[in-house]
Subunit: 397 residues, 2 copies
Amino acid sequence: MRDLLALVDRPEVISFAGGLPAPELFDVDGWRAAFDAALTGPAARRHLQYAATEGDLRLRGHLAARMTAWGLPSQAGDVLVTTGSQQGLTLVAAALLEPGATVVVEEPTYLAALQCFGMAGARVVAVASDADGVDPDALAEVFARERPALLYLVPTFANPTGKTLSARRRERVAELAERYGVWIVEDDPYGELRYRGDALAPVASYGERVVFLGSLSKIGAPGLRLGWVRTPSALRAALVIAKQAADLHTSTIDQAAAAHYLAVADLDGHVARLRVAYRERRDTMLGLLPQVLPAGATWTDPDGGMFVWVRLPGEVDTAAVLPVALAHDVAFVPGAPFFAVRADRATLRLSFSSSTPERIVEGMRRLGVALGSGSSALPSTALPTALPTVLSAGNRT
Amino acid sequence: MRDLLALVDRPEVISFAGGLPAPELFDVDGWRAAFDAALTGPAARRHLQYAATEGDLRLRGHLAARMTAWGLPSQAGDVLVTTGSQQGLTLVAAALLEPGATVVVEEPTYLAALQCFGMAGARVVAVASDADGVDPDALAEVFARERPALLYLVPTFANPTGKTLSARRRERVAELAERYGVWIVEDDPYGELRYRGDALAPVASYGERVVFLGSLSKIGAPGLRLGWVRTPSALRAALVIAKQAADLHTSTIDQAAAAHYLAVADLDGHVARLRVAYRERRDTMLGLLPQVLPAGATWTDPDGGMFVWVRLPGEVDTAAVLPVALAHDVAFVPGAPFFAVRADRATLRLSFSSSTPERIVEGMRRLGVALGSGSSALPSTALPTALPTVLSAGNRT
């Protein structure tokens, strides 16, 4: 296990495993100026001090304005700043889930969400979905039968599949949540990274029973650990109490720097540049998959985000393929841990965001060699299922 | 309630309520230089990226060296960086407490710890203590009777009492934990703020069953939210998993800035200056208490830290005194919420750290007027017990 980890960390490995933004695209100068501004002048001491649990009021205002521009009218008072949107998930679990509560998820879904619900003692139930995301008819049936506490969705450029819930289904899903008294957690770290088609309004714009989780990690910089929860008023007090117990508040200085950055930097222009770069990477990867993958493989064609989801043909276990890939200096995440109930072990996730097109070409070549080494060379014993979690530790997989 | 909060936030109020470090003593220039260095050069992009859950290896090395200097031999690999030591508490609760587990605490104790254990579904049991801290004989009895999962202590300059566990008792408490198979959580945010006497080695130096929680909030700056857990190897994996679910990792840039700061700044010299300033504030407050408090009042005489714990004579409820104090533009924290089992409502906590000696003199004068308004003027109805928590929201009370 440790040996495998060491293999992934070797610089010669081209990794499609993590869900990392491209570091060469970070606005380093903008962030350095923002921290400098936050630590200059009379407000500097305030930015080093304890602060309100809810977050920096200027930052909350900028984030509310951003959500409003996405079609989700919001005010600063609706925003609870979190230490990354991962923390938002944990706070929602703390505030909404009693041990034994039922959580409904798409399958596959974000594996750290599954871990989070598992740690909260919840029972996880899967609902059917197709290329347009979760199936509303199946969802109605699950809601009626299971009486869940919450439904967790990554409705836009989902992790791990890259799929997007259609506008019509967003409306229906929000209606079902109202009708059955279920809370929806709309996890949206990727929404601004759209490479094709028109933006869709968040599910939260269709109803009141939606907790929207946002993040600056993919459009700003993940190292600052800045996310937010748009809190329905009925949940606000419980979420603030959970946040206070979790870490009192998010880094004052990081919040102040982000507030400054959002005030003075051209974030929309930066996001536009990210879209151009990531679109090229997605297209490079998708263009090579027909040559690289064995006949009968299928994959998603995401409109945005960071991920392509692949299914290999036959009875292969991708956890057993990973060591072979690593031997060829290329990495991916085996798919099984993304499943809550019944794992499809022939699946795997590829991330195209953190590799340049040149590296993607070379990485795809290596993956082709690894997969082309023949099914007889692929060992059938699965690695421990904890492996992919650890492989992707420290990033939002 | 909201009106009361507004009263505390008024700038004319002299607050002895929060557990805030003095902002005028922050090393603003040192921190600005540290952030600038962290965002300059080839490492800058790494400092904006996702990072390992365990924390920045350089920072972990500095923190381990610091603990070693305190008499607690440590290595970087023993350190898990947390988003403030408040998060360390929550991680320990997540890793060690099943619902219904028993936690032993001194009474009174840090109220956010009580909230944290309550949110984890634990049953809290109090153990007797005196001026030297927790009573080992009483502790042995409680351990034998209750078979608790953990013992929570702030053994050095405790919050809220300012009391310190004697060296001899540290050894005995650690032995008892080994004998009964109980984990000790040694919460030590104040240990370096000693104004009298010699430093004591941490409880963790006396045995293996101690989880030590450290913090840069009081000696560096709380706005960075940087704390750490010194993890016994038996708990390391569970704590890292809990940390990953909580927020993936602590701010990369804040950690990098702190690593730079600890490498180049004279933190020991800074702490020495803090000690001089805080000692004067403590002495100013203690010198005035005999004039300010009614006859029969008692209070602690802390060797360090930030707090003096007061008991008023008679049947007074300090939660009912607070509005009177606020009417005189002075604030404190009523004592009841610091008790886990049986509240002594005649108690209150005063913090001397964040007010200059001049402000302490004036604040003490106002407190004297408020208390001297006569016991007949003090309403006997208690405010909701949640009040002090909210009053002190956003700081480590």
